[in-house]
Amino acid sequence: MATMHPTDQEYVSRWRRGDEVAALELVRRHAPPLGRYLRSRGALDADLDDLVQEVFFRAFQALDSWRGDAPLRGWLFRIAVNHLRDQHRRRGGRVMLALVDDDRIDPADPVLELEARESFDLLQSGMAALSPMQREVFRLRVEQGLDYAEVAEALETTTGAARVHYHHAVKRLKELLK
């Protein structure tokens, strides 16, 4: 028999009533994707716990402002995006560079590795040529696995607009990679 997992709304309701286990479940469910996103934006592994903690602190503090019908994951990503923006401003506009994980390319096959590196480099420069919004939508949709509603919530736009940006991004990247 399949086990039904409580929804985010159910956990949030329980947490509102003081159930700390519900808070833990929310963290368990959403901390890893948030951590991956922050890491992809250049956060160091050593800082991840603190950064994710800050996102949840802000989220739980402002839980009243979360619309229950909006996807919680998208809302948490919005807080993460805003937190990154704050950090960006505090650093005077200096951008953290995303780290490249060499383990993802098979070093056992030098030819494949070279091709993969070339493709990654092309994609990297293609991503840099996108508008900031297209780039972020593409990242959230493909790399982070958010659906359009979650992307829209994260980037404070509409689902339709997120979809259009994603399609623009795919089209532009495809042209740049040709």
Partner: protein, 176 residues
């Protein structure tokens, strides 16, 4: 099935969370454009970092402790259980403040008026106070445009104003 429908589904299929229908698969097999889109999504997905191993219990404990240390928080888990002893004190303080204000105002009514001048709150850029609301909007819009070119994530306001039909039309134009 449309090309845009196929592109919409690519990230889920690439992550093995969904599968192509027979119709999708046959289209993909013959359509070079869609195949190029699919290759792009697969390549981008390979860039994806693995999920980090985070200590959820420690994060939760720290967050709850921080929330408890901030009494002004609306952090909901704690609010219902926090003792409300301070509420009467706050009520008394508010009543005292009202009485003090009334007394001061009454005493000032009897005093001769020496001068009246509008009082502005101190601002970092006083000239901004001179702007009309419309001018302020224009200024904010221009600041946002400028900021968009500097920040890693820029604002996206305009597409959000379009209706679903208009967005669909725009998508068709994008797809060609």
């Amino acid at each position: 099935m449309t090309t845009s429908h196929l592109i919409d589904r690519m990230p889920e299929v690439a992550r093995f969370e969904s599968e192509w229908t027979r119709e999708d698969a046959s289209h993909l097999a013959v359509c070079e454009e869609c195949m190029a889109d699919w290759q792009l999504v697969l390549l981008a997905l390979r860039r994806r970092l693995p999920l980090p191993d985070l200590d959820a219990e420690r994060i939760t404990k720290t967050v709850i402790a921080r929330l408890q240390a901030h009494p002004q928080t609306s952090a909901l888990g704690m609010e219902s259980r926090r003792p409300r002893w301070w509420r009467p004190v706050v009520g008394l303080a508010a009543a005292a403040a009202v009485m003090l204000t009334v007394t001061l105002v009454r005493s000032r009514i009897d005093e001769p008026v020496v001068a009246t001048a509008p009082v502005h709150a101190a601002t970092m850029l006083p000239e901004l106070d001179e702007l009309l609301p419309g001018e302020m909007e224009v200024l904010l819009a221009s600041m946002e445009t400028e900021q968009a070119s500097q920040e890693p994530i820029g604002p996206l306001p305009r597409l959000g104003d379009l209706t679903d039909v208009e967005l669909e039309q725009l998508l068709k134009e994008v797809e060609g």
